[in-house]
Symmetry: C2
Subunit: 312 residues, 2 copies
Amino acid sequence: MNEINQQSVTVASPATVANIVCGFDILGFAINEPEDTFTLTICEEPGVTIINEDNFNLPTIAEDNVSGAALLAFLEAVPEIKGFKLESNKQIKPGSGIGSSAASAAGAVVAANYLMNNRFTPLELVRFAMVGEKVASGVKHADNIAPAIFGGVTLIRSIFPLDIIPIDAPHLYVTIVHPQIEVRTADARQILKQNVLLKDAIKQWGNIAGLVAGFIQHDYDLISRSLEDVIIEPVRSILIPSFYEIKQKCKEAGALGGGISGSGPSIFMLSKTRAIAENVENIMKEIYNKIGLSYYTHATTINQQGVRIVNK
Amino acid sequence: MNEINQQSVTVASPATVANIVCGFDILGFAINEPEDTFTLTICEEPGVTIINEDNFNLPTIAEDNVSGAALLAFLEAVPEIKGFKLESNKQIKPGSGIGSSAASAAGAVVAANYLMNNRFTPLELVRFAMVGEKVASGVKHADNIAPAIFGGVTLIRSIFPLDIIPIDAPHLYVTIVHPQIEVRTADARQILKQNVLLKDAIKQWGNIAGLVAGFIQHDYDLISRSLEDVIIEPVRSILIPSFYEIKQKCKEAGALGGGISGSGPSIFMLSKTRAIAENVENIMKEIYNKIGLSYYTHATTINQQGVRIVNK
């Protein structure tokens, strides 16, 4: 139980989409592209040493770094280890709305757990990683971390107590566009109203129930009908250029539906086939080309595995 | 297509539980006991003739009678039929909160459809029956009618457009207590607040998502954890004597959970075994015996069939 597996490991940690349309704060999924790479090594030096191998200039003081804070929480639970060295090679741009900080936190703790012979359960890893997520957004939310660690679609039924339910879903293609504007998570949270109309809340829970049933029953039509958000999207979409034009044209092209990824600015669309997903990607490009806004796109699939070991 | 199957049929129409805890306005299920019996006969006299064979003194003017109004809506869609005679023998007490009016509406239209060689789909029958439900409560809601017609657990994802999703659920025992007090649906609706806190709405949709996943995945523990209502129950429970005492003691006795049936005053509890369900029934009796309140109880199971033909 207490032995160390090996001294060093490299992991790949996936991007994730949280707030799946009607599933604000409770539903997310992992995607196969982009992904971060982290190499973690047990070392004698106490604490966590961060070495950035990318160009994002993220903090190297462990307490201020998402991976670092998560690893410090992990270290408290394994007193036989003094410290870790983390070589961080991120591809997921911070602030993109596709779970960059969650990938940092999840990747670091899954790597650490691998080195400790997988001593902790996935749920315990989520708890460590949430300490890192708090550094990024000020809130210990789990809706990106859970899918990053579990893979697939995950439901956070409750935060206190933490209750994560993996949701079986059919094969789905995911198209993402990341317009190069900044939407801070804190700002996106601040513009939300604290009160909602009961009748809107009822619509929303009808849709979330339909979406979960659609996923588990592999009913694409039901998934599509349920991808409707009457509460968050009408407020947050104003921060995202051409949001409704993109959504409408992608649905006309056959996408099942989609919306704001996390707190934005990325937009995601789900499709049943690769051909539709690629068509959707072209539509996104055309619209942002037309208005002269820079962007990245990804046409990928749901990642069923979560953080994976790439180099043992 | 247009021929008449036969002249007369008798059906049994089940009681139903709507507003399954966190599933306010969207989730309901049918139960095997109590049930109403209706005999419907095609006749030459225009309109709907109501003959009450029970002692509830329900209106006999078709427009004012739940079954009658539903049958009038049905008749508009089948111009080759002039009229129906309905012999009504209800066992489900009006105002009990276990779908008495829905049983009247659903039973009548399923009987009529049987006589017309099942010309209409279950979804179309729900629409006819909703016209009857409106007579009872002033609102065209479907959360009792849908399970009465479809059987089992049903999700009303949306009312406009009407979208009903049968939810596969594991075998469950249902215990009901109906304290003999009157809670009018209109009153129960009026005391609800029009606004809810976003953070409460998020808790609620976490639970509704968990409940639907728990049903479909036959995960009793998840069903139990998800049977929590932070929005409606805290308000409506004040109309129901000893509500929290009953709920707490039934859960201590092993019930998965439960809450207000429909808009009350009945309380329902779900259990995994018959022994627990019967124990729960005894607890309910003891509590209302102690305070000297009259009641009925039922220990039954989820009805998977909906309205059934009993006499061809």
